[in-house]
């Protein structure tokens, strides 16, 4: 039974950043390809191109961080996909995005969308993480510019903002709050 030439595409419903899309999708399309090439959501990056090492293609699928380059698009149908484009609101940046800006946690920016989404998954389940927990949550996201220190500081600062923890912000303004 050889069907090398047969690709049975299906019309499927995708929910990306709260918006519903109906797309004709073949089985061999990855979620990354769907997001970038079909839906034009190029915030999600193609890094190591399918070896699962870099984390640049990370998106949240039903709230959990997955590698979109190794996820078949059809298996994401009828599930909630969140990409970096869905993080900010019309009212402004997400606290994580704001903190990344303020802490210089972005250099070339290529790893940033994946970092933000891994960090969001962490803070959604653990609003008050330790630096070690932040590093563990970001272990699957490689950055070749910043050296991670500022990224971890930014995530901790965003967590404080999201908790409404003014004391943390005061400590930070007084000059550095992260103990390593």
């Amino acid at each position: 039974m050889k069907t090398k030439d047969v690709v049975r595409a299906q019309v499927a419903t995708f929910v990306v950043n709260g918006r519903t899309y109906e797309e004709l999708v073949p089985p061999n399309m990855t979620l990354l390809e769907l997001l970038r090439d079909r839906l034009g959501l190029t915030g999600t990056k193609r890094g190591c191109s399918g070896s699962g090492n870099c984390g640049a293609c990370t998106v949240l699928l039903d709230g959990r961080p997955v590698l979109s380059c190794l996820t078949l698009a059809l298996l994401a149908r009828d599930r909630e996909v969140l990409t970096v484009e869905g993080l900010s609101t019309p009212g402004g940046l997400h606290p994580l995005q704001q903190a990344f800006l303020e802490h210089g946690a972005v250099q070339c920016g290529f790893c940033t969308p994946g970092m933000l989404l891994s960090a969001k998954a962490l803070l959604d389940s653990n609003p008050d993480p330790t630096p070690a927990e932040v590093r563990a949550a970001l272990a699957g996201n490689l950055c070749r510019c910043t050296g991670y220190v500022k990224i971890v500081e930014a995530v901790l600062a965003a967590a404080a903002v999201m908790r409404g923890d003014a004391a943390h912000e005061d400590r930070e303004q007084a000059g550095g709050c992260v103990s390593w």
Partner: protein
């Protein structure tokens, strides 16, 4: 360079019977898709070009992670590594398994990857295989002609292969509850925490006073399959355990290893480290077993 996946048919059966029937019909041209981490990565590199993927995603009940009536841990084929890592049941009853999963660093990998998938990839460097060898796990396999139960040490075939044939699916891994007083340890040597092991070692020891009643010693990344070391186990069992005996058992583990030199390490270094890590693992496990016996009495 970015490559798109070669075309294939995607089947999404809603029962295990249907999945087994589909796999049998397609024979060697089909692959089981669980988490997809290894499979889709190989397909992206065009190392693997199956005509058909049989997804387990829509089959209900395959994410079961529970203690059975006989006390054993039952792990379904869609249970992710993240699910195991975060499970209070596993942390409390099978901490060796939780420790092995902890040596896999990427949250995304753990969120997507399944324990059964890791075993079916059958890499000799698996972090989970030595842990499951040391815990005496059994794999349950569905076949077109019925079911089979296979001890994990009989599952792997050199190199990066298993006894699974086309049409067969691992439906469950069953991990017996460690006996009271069992000590354990997991040791992994790798370039960074995110890297594949150069050597890994998992051990369990059951202890009665100063005597080792039962031992299991398992190695990863130092042979053509994950490896159990019966010689080291026999050296310990029924004997009073001291530093010398542990050193002798570690030496036997070294002799059992048949590592290769590759980009991660050399065969000589791996052999040396098998001995060192086995000695450390046995010492730690023995001490833990002692603590547990102390608490129980």
């Amino acid at each position: 360079m970015h490559r798109t996946l070669k075309p294939f048919e995607l089947l999404e059966p809603e029962s295990l019977d249907e999945a087994v029937a589909s796999l049998a019909r397609w024979g060697g041209d089909a692959r089981v898709l669980a988490g997809g981490l290894d499979l889709v990565a190989k397909m992206t590199r065009w190392e693997m070009q199956p005509d058909c993927l049989v997804s387990l995603d829509r089959i209900p009940g395959l994410d079961v992670l529970e203690r059975q009536d006989d006390g054993a841990l039952r792990i379904g084929p869609m249970v992710t590594l993240r699910g195991i890592e975060l499970s209070p049941l596993v942390q409390a009853g099978w901490p060796l398994l939780a420790a092995a999963v902890d040596h896999i660093s990427s949250v995304q990998v753990k969120t997507m990857g399944t324990l059964v998938g890791n075993l079916c990839v059958a890499t000799p460097a698996s972090d989970l295989a030595p842990a499951l060898l040391a815990l005496g796990a059994t794999l349950h396999i569905a076949r077109p002609d019925g079911a089979a139960a296979v001890p994990v040490e009989d599952f792997f075939v050199p190199v990066c292969s298993s006894i699974l044939e086309p049409g067969q699916i691992v439906t469950e891994v069953s991990v017996p509850a460690p006996a009271a007083g069992t000590g354990w340890a997991f040791k992994k040597l790798a370039h960074t925490k995110a890297c594949i092991a150069k050597v890994n070692v998992a051990v369990t020891i059951e202890r009665e006073g100063d005597v080792c009643r039962r031992a299991r010693v398992a190695l990863g990344a130092v042979a053509s399959t994950p490896l159990r070391v019966p010689t080291a186990e026999h050296a310990l069992e029924g004997c009073e355990v001291d530093r010398d005996l542990i050193a002798r058992a570690a030496g036997l583990a070294r002799e059992a290893a048949t590592p290769i030199t590759d980009l991660r390490s050399t065969a000589d270094y791996r052999r040396d480290m098998v001995e060192v890590l086995t000695r450390r693992a046995l010492t730690e496990a023995w001490d833990k077993a002692s603590e547990r016996e102390g608490r129980a009495s």
